[in-house]
Assembly symmetry: D2
Homo-oligomer: 439 residues x 4
């Protein structure tokens, strides 16, 4: 990861002049809350060379955390939360954390939940707004999904900002992926154009863990946990039957992080296919021949395929887009299932092929303990950032610290699994698979 | 369940004259092992009417358990175990329990594991035989699947018995479903024809829990446990999106026990479709209209469908059979997914439909604690029955006791979910669904 | 289990004349709900001898389930639910099931939750009454404990009935153990004395699974599930250290069902100590010598002790009683820990002893899927019994059927683990332990 | 964390001249393995100030990972692994990862497992040595504990090095905590004195997560996962009974990381007591008065106490040391239980106090998916470091990278929870507790 260039400051709505209520909480004799200075930064790239003499000072992020002075007056502030896109473990933890922090710590009592993603801003859909408070978020972290619901696809940016104006929202918390962050940026731009004092804080959500400048995204750890169940199942089915093949499709539209990490967590896979590494199916160096070799020698095989792997295998003409503007991927899982069956049928080798697609079971789980703690910090830091009047930023975890990432820096790019890196090299060692499959 | 008529005794290979080693274990002063008399029976039908004066004495089963005298000489006995058909939680528990009981308690030291189901008997397949002993079964209960592997389909009965003769097997333990039990019966008949002294003990396996005269089959409880995850997932997806529909396919080729029990364990389903209750899709009283009504009024719905439900909806000509002779069911899950999409598309109602098929994740799990204990008893009682020289029987659990069920009584029939009974009526109450859907 | 003698009918409050609302639910063309006739009975003792000619017709229970005619007018009925004694997985499932059945199926809209057990009836404690309805029980089954709370100890019976009168309760559902069922009986007697029309339905609760005439009690299966974690832990600690000993205390005040069943579910124990089998600690045939022999030969040992085991080892003078009138047991776990340490210290054998007491972790869990389904049936059948005007009964599961057990038949007795029976004999085989330990 | 000063290089046994077998694995056309240069470093302190102009170049660690050239000749190398101190989830993952990497990737075929910690080096204990290979480590990651066993306490350093010499060990992998790392350092010093070519690689193990310069220790995440069960249990018991108090003791001899993180993962605690924050029990600002206030106002309370909290409350004279030289802590859990009981008894307030100590259940668990992946990387990087001839280092995770930490830098210090930091401030917000309790 080279040439970071985030010298742009995080924009603010204005000077933060109000003493933070966190300050007032402190009793005499108690240690003071440690506020984070606006000058506190976290270095972006920690890898240096011994011979290197200096570091560019610009390559750093704002540290997230409570500020001693805040911009909004809590007693008059209204906030809104919206969750967008596919489900992901931890959404309810984030909602709860934002609400509790606003309500109990900053004394903000008016918090709206926008229902069903961006649709909730648009009058035509007629989705009610939820009032959020400690009661309405009690226990929600034990349930998967999102109490606010979600939807895919973007909506008219102007109408969204109209809605924010009508509702006199001061801070909007947007939890979502790629598409949502793109929309967030455009919402901020529209807000700026109208000269409104609305802060927009993004909390990046992706079960694929591939958002740029975000080292870890919430829900990923839970997803890995449960993906191992599917891999175990595939393994048990594969070894039970003569020439047994277990084929598991895991999430990962553009990146193989989930497929690779789950394959390390439950080391039963013989082949892992990911978007970052092209594969060839046919030919003597192709995947199908390699699979056949494995079956002939070992009588069973487990294959993990990320949903975005092998997209070059499909006909280019067929590209479609979903309501969020994401490319509708061809289903590599069912495609591979078909291709494997055909291959072995043609060779007259009987196989027992089992296909497992745990997608929605994983997406709709509650967060595990680790993700739950993580979501708590993300939510609280989102609140601190918003209260301080900052805007157009994402709450990110980077080099073991919570930081503010400018929306401009993160959007439109993507984090990819490096085929030369530690994770993929470990997969190559664990599976023994070739690197990879050319005709 | 009426008109039981099992007056036929369980066949035996000959008089049991040898004092059981369990007897010798008893030290002076210790309580004696309680042996089960061959006259001990368990009543089949416990439901009586207050006005009824008597019970037919024939309607009873042999009690399972250790006999004071056994038929086989442990020091010379060879046993074999085979697991057949689809995977099911608990197979390894059963194998382990049989091996430990034979080895430690009866001092039988030669125990073979036949690999990959009935294929393992047939020379052409060249599957090795495993030697089973306490070391080779240590810890296997913590893993799903079967260490012996499995296969589907039957094999030549004569060649199977040839193999038993060549290996001089005394007791064959067969763990399998419908088809396997049918094969077991034919194996016993061939053994009788050849006048061999080989006991065949069946342990009924079905994740569908639908074997006749078997009130509970191992692995079912584990299956229900994990099926609830899929239902929760479907529910969370359904409520998150406008007009969300979660569709879960569960096992159950001919019976709705798993679908119904899981629906009671995790009460999120609005519709449960099972083989025992015909459904009509179209028309104003059909399922699709009912689903539409639900969506219009409540905006979300969860549907659970057993894999064997709605088979009448398919074209009759297309009937196929798998290697085990089971009818290849049309895939009602994908069929329903398609039909639901078409229905709402035609009505121009946007929906968000998520399809979950947890089948292989469930089948390949290790048994939970409850099933593990249950499998232990089944395995031990199978050993006791075989050592006593009994044959042509299944180990069953009935009215809270372990019993011997004659193979003739159980095979060729099936246990069905009674649409008038407690389980289905509870589903109707829990879902509020109609009973059911006529055109 | 001999000489059952339950010819006494279940008492009723009067003739059931009202057509059940379940009847009215039935639409034309639908199958009718299958109502249970008052003459339908379930045989108590299913074990017969082949030579036996007849069965005593009296040895049977009423079948539980909906009656075609009911006693109470739903539109005017008020019901109350109370949960008493120690926590047990499934309490919330039972509460939820009763409330949903009353509310949705019988249209009873007034349902009170009495807080903190019998204390809730007594004005001095000032516990509020909860209004129960589908909203207030939504999702509670996912949480352990009881939303009504509980308390130990009995209260003044007259004051309890005063409270029922003041609140004009028609049906009281009491969920509790031994002591609670005793109190229930006395409440019914006081109700009879006052000529009130109040039905009292008991739902037996015991994590020890030792209530007489109740083959399975809710929560037990969940308890076994989680107790295996503690046994695994004890095993891993024991084998890791030289002369490692893992000592696990499990629930079981008067019976060893949980200790024994968990020991079968997770077969790592070398010694299982239960109340039904006396133990001697010292002497050459005592437990401590046996443990020493094990340590010398195998270097590690796992011991499971039920909390009520070995009470004879304590000084008789020290007997104390808790508020519920139960004997306060001496803590055998800590006692054994001390005795084992002393024994090996005296012999100068270094050991590594780890003590695990998972009691409250287990008691406060939510029910697993199996218990959840079970609790649903218990709750619904409790409602059916109460609506029909029956009283002074327990809902029990017996020979695979749900039945009414007269309170008089069940109270004051206890189900014990039979040291000659299948469960304990399996433990002796699994552990190899002597049967047992005399001086 | 200030003033890092790790300019000392990691010592090496000699020049690494041998081409790594990883190099040879690479086929033409495949991407090359990305080797880590010895000049690649990771910055220690990523927190900078915007106004700061430069970074000290010395504050950095070696990056861990495979080197292009190695020191040892794999065909002649013998390695040994030892696990020391208390059990921790992930030990078997580490062992397995080291063995597979040595065996499959570096072709080192002689790998010894030293049994029962440092005892295994000392002849008097007569512990056998295990031969480790892919078969002997197959599946061990699914089991808690350590297949090598462990022991507490140090042993004679000279005798340990004697043993290494006799066995001609080239690389010793030591997995252990504080005391073990101290011993490692002394072993290296003895090795240097004798001029031996033995590399010693430490893998820091602490369920308390408090090793200096180690941002995350393996097993911690699993521990948090399961600690939440105990907290849920305490909460359910507390709210069920009038004046219910749930008291949970968690690990944490010198640091509150586990107590605090678990308290954030399951936000039911009202008080969290940790070693880093002194507490006063008595007096009007003491903990007991605060607990009483909570009970009077809210009727229930959950208290989490780290095992090392409140040590100042104990009498100084009583200090004892265990075989590892660690201070034997007074048991704060049982102490608090007693003090709480006395306080409320004196005030004549009846309470229901439940005490939960899940220690050994947690320590002996298998690693969860997240820890399992983490352990895999630690083990592989330990092998890479050793093969390159480096020594006297720990494998650590720091700022999201795997690094080499010099033993001299890490030993004798400890990571503490900062009462001014994000974690503890979040606890104060979540619990609302005072900061803290002075007389």
């Amino acid at each position: 990861m080279k040439n970071f260039d985030f010298c742009t400051d995080i924009p603010t709505l204005g000077e933060a002049k109000i003493i933070s209520p966190l300050k007032k909480h402190t009793k005499p004799g108690e240690p003071e809350k440690r506020f984070i200075s606006d000058d506190a930064r976290v270095i972006v790239d920690v890898q240096i060379n011994r011979l290197q003499s200096d570091l560019k000072k610009n390559s750093s992020f704002d540290q997230a955390g409570p500020r001693e002075k805040i911009y909004f007056d809590p007693s008059k502030l209204k906030c809104a939360i919206v969750t967008c896109g596919g489900l992901c473990p931890g959404l309810n933890d984030i909602i709860r954390s934002i609400v509790l922090e606003l309500y109990h710590i900053y004394n903000v009592k008016t918090i709206y939940g926008i229902k069903h993603g961006l649709q909730g801003f648009i009058p035509d859909f007629q989705h009610d707004v939820m009032n959020l408070n400690p009661d309405s978020v009690s226990g929600i972290q034990n349930t998967g999904g999102s109490i606010l619901g979600s939807s895919r696809g973007t909506q008219d940016i102007g109408m969204i900002v109209d809605c924010l104006e009508r509702m006199t929202i001061g801070i909007l918390f947007m939890v979502g992926g790629d598409g949502t962050l793109m929309a967030s940026k455009r919402i901020v731009e529209e807000i700026e154009k109208r000269n409104l004092k609305i802060s927009v804080i993004g909390i990046p959500k992706t079960i694929d863990n591939d958002i740029y400048l975000v080292s870890r995204s919430f829900g990923f750890d839970t997803a890995v946990d449960v993906a191992t169940l599917a891999i175990k199942g595939a393994h048990n089915e594969a070894i039970a039957y003569p020439n047994g093949i277990g084929l598991v499709k895991l999430m990962g539209r553009h990146s193989g992080f989930l497929a690779a990490t789950a394959a390390l967590a439950q080391q039963d896979a013989n082949f892992v296919l990911i978007p970052e590494v092209d594969i060839s199916l046919d030919g003597k160096n192709g995947f199908l021949q390699a699979l056949e070799n494995r079956i002939l020698h070992r009588k069973h095989a487990v294959v993990i395929v990320a949903e975005g792997a092998g997209q070059k295998l499909f006909d280019k003409q067929q590209k479609k887009f979903d309501p969020s503007g994401n490319i509708v991927l061809q289903d590599i899982g069912l495609f591979l299932k078909e291709k494997i069956s055909q291959w072995f049928k043609a060779k007259n080798i009987p196989i027992s092929l089992k296909y497992i697609d745990p997608s929605y079971i994983i997406r709709s789980l509650p967060a595990n303990a680790n993700d739950s703690v993580f979501c708590g910090f993300l939510g609280r830091d989102a609140v601190h950032a918003g209260m301080a009047g900052k805007t157009k930023l994402l709450i990110s975890f980077w080099n073991n610290h919570y930081v503010h990432v400018p929306m401009d820096a993160a959007s439109g790019k993507r984090k990819n699994l490096d085929p030369q890196g530690k994770l993929w090299q470990s997969i190559l060692e664990a599976t023994g698979q070739d690197t990879f499959f050319t005709d």
